[in-house]
């Protein structure tokens, strides 16, 4: 009974963090705007640079790489806000008092996750339309976007919490995050390529889920040390 009420309390607290973040975000729209504008301008730049080559069969194997690079760099532009904003506005102290670190991490992860999925909903249809790319296995394509988006959000949340307490946060975020996300990027590209071509993937989606699980569990274990001085 006690463990059930503890779990409900945990859910309520993490839900409160998530709701607070969305309320703040909808007031300023900082992260949403930077994510969307960064992704859109990169998309247009890439499409213009590729020109007609982008729609030719020659470019087909390269398009998944470009798609995931756009998503990755857009995420690095907007996701650090989840924690950097708290430190800049000096609300981190209040948040530390408001709940256990695990609940804060779960709430922040939920926020990063919803932002990443919003980014994917905005960018992916545009990308598919601009490059004439049509996945032959839409189920695998959506599953890849969901699983890899989760990994992107989980990794970004923990690294954002780390860099929020350092100087040069923006640059540092990308420097720390990119080597960590490369395995995910390689798996995401391989799966997207398989979903587009309809051929069997060289990597199982379970491997992405394993990465997601390990990074999330690692995040929950390490976050109390990162968050509490």
């Amino acid at each position: 009974m006690s463990s059930r009420s503890d779990f409900l309390d945990f859910l309520a607290r993490s839900g409160a963090v998530l709701a607070k973040d969305w309320r703040t975000e909808l007031r300023s729209r900082y992260a949403l705007n930077s994510l969307a504008l960064f992704a859109f301008s990169t998309l247009v730049t890439v499409s213009m640079a590729l020109g007609p080559v982008g729609s030719s069969p020659l470019a087909q194997p390269l398009l998944p790489v470009i798609l995931w690079l756009i998503l990755l760099f857009a995420a690095t532009a907007g996701l650090p806000r989840t924690f950097v904003g708290e430190e800049e506005t000096h609300t981190a102290i209040a948040l530390r008092l408001a709940g256990p670190p695990e609940a804060v991490f779960a709430g922040k992860l939920g926020f990063a996750l919803s932002l990443t999925f919003a980014l994917e909903i905005l960018v992916v249809p545009l990308f598919l339309a601009m490059t004439d790319l049509s996945p032959k296995d839409p189920g695998l394509f959506v599953a890849t976007l969901a699983a890899c988006g989760f990994g992107l959000a989980a990794g970004s949340t923990l690294v954002a919490a780390m860099v929020a307490q350092a100087r040069g946060k923006g640059t540092l975020f990308a420097v720390l995050l990119l080597p960590m996300l490369v395995p995910l990027l390689v798996m995401a590209v391989a799966l997207t390529r398989a979903a587009v071509s309809g051929e069997p993937p060289v990597v199982e989606i379970t491997q992405v889920l394993l990465y997601d699980g390990m990074v999330t569990i690692g995040g929950f274990l390490l976050f109390p040390a990162v968050w509490n001085p």
Partner: protein, 225 residues
């Protein structure tokens, strides 16, 4: 210097010197390799092994720091990351020299070459991160969390990502998926001796480095007070 330390240093010197001689005079060149190029294996593999060992040690020391907040573990992690980077660079350079002979190019963007460069970037960022945090306690705590994260990411970086990429010119790792050392008997003996020698050399450097970090910290604390 204590007699046991002298003895240990003598053993390290002897094993590395002997490994160098045996690598050229005792071990045969491997089949399907151009000329004598396979002899670099006796230096490349130990460097890569010691580098991996150092990064694992850094991760474990970081976890112990987070649990105990004992500064010695922070020194151990810092020292291990620094030495791991040096041995990692040496592994990359020896690998590139071999690649020049075998593949006619120092750098081929082979998945294994790329993965070691990414691992080195990850641990180089460790020092960049440390210098970006001003407060000492926060610096130690955050750097420890980052190095501990390395324990989670490293298996994906070293084992899964290169396999997914599919194409690789790199020979099958010495310690393969079946956990067997698949090399000729005399080569295996020299490889083991070389690996032991360089591992012991790393341990000695690590101990010295940890002592140096402790002394530097004591000096800084004294000058501040």
């Amino acid at each position: 210097m204590k007699p046991t330390t002298l003895l240990a240093l003598g053993a390290i010197w002897l094993s590395i010197t002997l490994a160098i001689f045996l690598a050229f005079l005792y071990a045969p060149p491997a089949k399907n390799f151009i000329g004598e190029s396979s002899r670099i294996l006796f230096f490349h593999v130990p460097m890569a092994w010691v580098s991996s060992l150092a990064f694992i040690l850094a991760g474990v020391a970081s976890v112990r720091y987070l649990r105990t907040r004992d500064v010695r573990f922070d020194h151990q992690a810092r020292s291990a990351v620094g030495l791991g980077l040096i041995f990692g660079v040496l592994a990359t350079v020896t690998g590139s020299l071999w690649a020049r002979v075998m593949w006619n190019s120092y750098w081929n963007w082979d998945p294994r070459q790329s993965s070691i460069i990414l691992a080195l970037t990850f641990y180089l960022a460790y020092f960049g991160f440390r210098s970006a945090v001003e407060e000492v306690e926060a610096r130690r705590r955050l750097a420890a969390a980052y190095a501990a994260l390395g324990l989670i990411v490293a298996p994906f970086l070293f084992y899964i990502a290169p396999r997914i990429a599919g194409f690789t010119l790199h020979p099958e790792p010495i310690l393969n998926a079946n956990l067997k050392v698949e090399v000729e008997s005399r080569m295996r003996q020299v490889l083991l001796l070389s690996s032991l020698g360089f591992t012991a050399f790393f341990v000695w450097l690590h101990i010295l480095n940890c002592r140096l970090l402790t002394l530097l910290e004591a000096r800084d604390a004294k000058s501040l007070s």
